[in-house]
């Protein structure tokens, strides 16, 4: 191994991260080459000089300043929301998606309820209200009655399918949880940004 090659490996040799066959070769070369040995000593001296840099002493005023500024900030709390920040975009996406499902389910439910009045025999306030709305639709839509018939049939079928696939109450609960998580997350992140912004000192 020549001097040029050894000098290119000296830093890694000093850091003891050179693979064994090369480390042995470099050690053998340095033992016999005064030029390369001097360069290795120079690395050692630079590192020793850095390790010997004396500690600086900050003022007590700095300590008082830090604690006074910290007292102005909202207190940190337990890390129960850490996972929420770590998966914030997934949470926002899930919350938005669940909110959309909730809104769609609500719309379907209203239309199904509207359709019940004319399509499901029975009594009680649901059937009465549905019948009233149906009469109002018939009276106000004129030539559109046939179209409404078809639309209500389709919505009614969709509503039954939805009810069969998953209890409506479950969809509502999931949607509400998603909306709640999204709102809490947005409010919390906003509060943190407000808290951090005034601490930028530079």
């Amino acid at each position: 191994m020549n001097c040029s090659r050894v000098k290119s490996l000296l830093e890694e040799y000093f850091e003891e991260s050179l693979p064994e066959p090369q480390a042995t070769a470099v050690a053998a070369h340095v033992a016999t080459c005064t030029d390369c040995a001097a360069e290795l000593r120079q690395i050692e001296r630079v590192v020793a000089a850095l390790a010997a840099v004396p500690a600086a002493v900050p003022s007590e005023e700095l300590l008082r300043s830090i604690t006074a500024r910290a007292a102005e900030l909202p207190r940190p709390d337990r890390g129960r929301m850490v996972w929420l920040r770590r998966w914030r975009w997934a949470v926002v996406a899930a919350g938005t998606g669940m909110a959309a499902v909730g809104a769609a389910a609500s719309a379907v439910a209203v239309l199904v309820w509207l359709g019940l009045g004319s399509h499901v025999p029975g009594s009680g306030w649901v059937a009465d209200a549905g019948a009233f709305l149906r009469r109002w639709v018939d009276a106000t839509s004129g030539g559109m009655v046939a179209l409404w018939e078809q639309a209500l049939e389709a919505v009614y079928g969709l509503g039954l399918a939805l009810q069969a696939a998953a209890p409506t109450i479950g969809v509502y609960v999931a949607a509400e949880v998603g909306i709640l998580l999204a709102i809490v997350f947005v409010l919390r992140m906003g509060r943190r940004r407000e808290a951090v912004r005034p601490t930028v000192l530079i």
Binding site: A52, T67, L73
Partner: protein
């Protein structure tokens, strides 16, 4: 106090702080502000800047305390925050920074103001340290951070990689290039 006892005491104070005991954070600051200030002071040759960035580091740590993993070293976490703030600070101030050479030429005090840096002791280790530190201050931000964390703070390569969020191989490359550049600048010691 041993390292493990110090770590347990840090964990207790952090837990108290997260339970709403704000004075516990004051104790954490008093335990670690000298160390954090030194990391920063060795990267920023201005004591005013070092104080500002130290304050910012602790306030950032305070607002993010709930993200700290109690299984890790709190001083190492603080050093990571401090190093990254220094790098950001140096990048922002790059065009305005007065180099140490300029400070010396203009008659201002060098970064190391210890008594051993006097002309009478120019051949001492302290003088070597002053010269080497002055050279380190001339390095690019990340190389400077790597050298300070490795040789002044005594951190391992993988710890530096984690703190500066870069691969270990990149840390090694920066360390070797930084040391070579410092040797080139200081000449014979």
């Amino acid at each position: 106090m041993s390292d493990s006892e110090a770590g347990r005491e840090d964990a207790r104070l952090i837990a108290r702080c997260l339970d709403g005991d704000r004075p516990a954070f004051d104790l954490l600051v008093s335990r670690h502000y000298r160390g954090v200030y030194n990391v920063i002071y060795r990267m920023l040759p201005s004591s005013d800047d070092a104080a500002d960035v130290t304050q910012e580091a602790f306030l950032r740590a305070y607002t993010r305390l709930d993200t700290f993993n109690l299984g890790r070293s709190f001083p190492a976490w603080l050093r990571a925050i401090a190093s990254n703030l220094c790098i950001d600070h140096l990048r922002r101030r790059r065009s305005q920074t007065v180099s140490l050479d300029q400070r010396l030429e203009s008659g201002l005090e060098p970064a190391d103001e210890s008594p051993d840096a006097s002309p009478e002791n120019q051949l001492t280790v302290a003088e070597d340290s002053r010269r080497v530190l002055a050279a380190v201050h001339q390095l690019p931000e990340k190389q400077k951070a790597v050298l300070v964390l490795r040789h002044i703070e005594g951190m391992k390569l993988n710890e530096i990689a984690e703190a500066l969020r870069m691969p270990v191989g990149t840390v090694k490359t920066m360390l070797f290039r930084g040391r070579a550049a410092v040797r080139e600048m200081v000449g014979e010691l």
